[in-house]
């Protein structure tokens, strides 16, 4: 009888351990999935930037410096294989800043502002910027959710046995802290 009870308790503990382990794996998977969303948008933006630059070039010939800055930051981001999400987001934030100044340019070039191609590119870029911001929000909430699990008792026992480490959230630049999205207009 005693053995039966002990066996029952052991079985429950083992089952709990397996369930907890799987829960942690799932939570970590969600972080990866959330990052994949960010990554898709970063790639989309990288593809859009050359089009924007070539459209703006025709109208704003004296703004070479601003345009080059965007291209440089973009190329840097393209070549960042193996970097951590945090490092990638830092470079991405530079691009966001540089793009803002390109769209601010359009204020002084009425012809550019009226260009249909430019307008649709502007909407496309606003769209990717917002998607980056919102997927970053999703990434961060997945990380927080996972970290809570890793830290809580008794899940932390399984986490340390299974080698689950805390992940860090993506920092938001100060000026964007209250409003995650970007409007270029």
């Amino acid at each position: 009888m005693v053995w039966l009870i002990i066996l029952g308790i052991v079985a429950i503990v083992v089952l709990w351990g397996i369930a907890t382990y799987n829960g942690l794996v799932k939570s970590r998977g969600w972080i990866k999935e959330a990052w994949a969303q960010v990554d898709v948008q970063l790639k989309r933006r990288n593809d859009l930037i050359p089009n924007v630059v070539s459209t703006v070039k025709g109208y704003a010939k004296h703004e070479q410096e601003t345009l080059e800055k965007v291209i440089a930051a973009r190329n840097q981001l393209v070549n960042m294989q193996g970097a951590t999400p945090q490092e990638i987001m830092e470079t991405s934030n530079q691009i966001t800043g540089a793009l803002k100044s390109i769209f601010a340019l359009s204020e002084s070039y009425p012809e550019l502002k009226a260009n249909q191609n430019f307008l649709s590119l502007q909407e496309e870029l606003t769209n990717t910027e917002n998607k980056i911001a919102y997927s970053r929000q999703l990434y961060n909430s997945s990380v927080v959710n996972y970290n809570i699990k890793v830290q809580s008792i008794p899940t932390n026992i399984i986490a340390s046995i299974g080698g689950f480490k805390e992940e860090s959230v993506l920092e938001t630049p100060q000026e964007e802290r209250n409003v995650p999205k970007v409007s270029f207009d």
Binding site: N127, Y134, Q137, L138, N178
Partner: protein, 296 residues
């Protein structure tokens, strides 16, 4: 809080279905009394007809609600900004992309409908697209997504569908009341106690059923708006967009072709905006909603 709301909404849905079954039966008694002199026949007719009709309405409720509000489905190319905002909100709310619809109406307003989060639809008026900037539009769409996520849309869509079915049955029975009088004069238990009771029940059913169905809808819709506003802000992290959108919407003229059954679905009441938290209001007053948003 959202989790609780989801459970509550699922429970309310069952309650609503029960209340409407009772309403169908009562109307059935009325039809039986006035048209066939036999409450059993009337009850069977109302249950069978009403049941078939209600099931038909429920299975197509999303399409019916969209059609009754003259909403037309759009593609990304037609309204890129609206489409992109809906995509963004689908990301943060973690629900599948709903279908997007536009209503030709100068009054700014919006609603969501659908039987489940993965078969939802979002509709906005052209007036909303014209008058709101991106930030404000985001607030409105986020509000609609919180209704989708917490199953408000299912509850409300069922209410619209069943309300329409009840309205049809009532029409049928009041037709019988007008033309069934002659038939009834042969009734031999006209003066019996049962006859009088049935007469009163029938009259009550015909006049109270629509009122009751409206009141249920109103009571269920008012409280959920505050939660949807709060959830919307947790999506956009920006109360200002929704605040200024609500201000613009509340100061605009009424919608023209609005379907009264669907009024409770909209983000702000589309008709006769009495800004009071009364029993007959579909929405809490905009002033109260904005005050709560400011405190967030």
């Amino acid at each position: 809080m959202l989790h609780q709301q989801i459970i509550q909404n699922k429970r309310k849905t069952i309650l609503v279905l029960l209340v409407y079954t009772l309403l169908f039966l009562t109307v059935g008694i009325a039809i039986g009394y006035f048209m066939f002199d036999d409450i059993l026949i009337g009850t069977i007719i109302a249950t069978v007809l009403g049941g078939i009709y209600a099931i038909a309405m429920l299975s197509q409720s999303t399409e019916i609600v969209l059609k009754r509000n003259h909403a037309h489905q759009i593609t990304e190319e037609m309204y890129p900004m609206l489409w992109h905002i809906v995509e963004d909100m689908a990301i943060v709310a973690q629900v599948p992309m709903p279908s997007v619809h536009v209503i030709q109406d100068d009054s700014p307003n919006a609603f969501a409908t659908g039987m489940s989060p993965d078969k939802a639809a979002v509709a906005v008026t052209t007036g909303l697209l014209k008058r709101l900037n991106r930030e404000e539009l985001e607030g409105v769409i986020a509000h609609e997504f919180s209704h989708i996520k917490n199953y408000d849309v299912r509850l409300q869509t069922i209410l619209v569908a069943l309300g329409t079915a009840i309205a049809l049955l009532i029409q049928f029975s009041s037709y019988g009341m007008r033309f069934g009088g002659r038939h009834k004069s042969n009734n031999n238990d006209k003066n019996s106690v049962l006859g009088i009771v049935l007469f009163i029940v029938s009259i009550l059913a015909i006049f109270l059923a629509p009122l009751l169905s409206t009141l249920t809808q109103l009571a269920l819709s008012r409280n959920r708006e505050y939660l949807a506003d709060a959830t919307a802000v947790s999506f956009t992290r920006n109360p200002q967009g929704l605040i200024s959108a609500l201000q613009i919407i509340s100061q605009s003229p009424d919608m023209k072709g609005v379907d009264p059954q669907s009024a409770a679905l909209y983000i702000a009441s589309p008709i006769h905006k009495k800004e009071k938290d009364s029993l007959f209001a579909t929405h809490p007053s905009t002033a109260n909603r904005i005050a709560r948003l400011r405190n967030m």
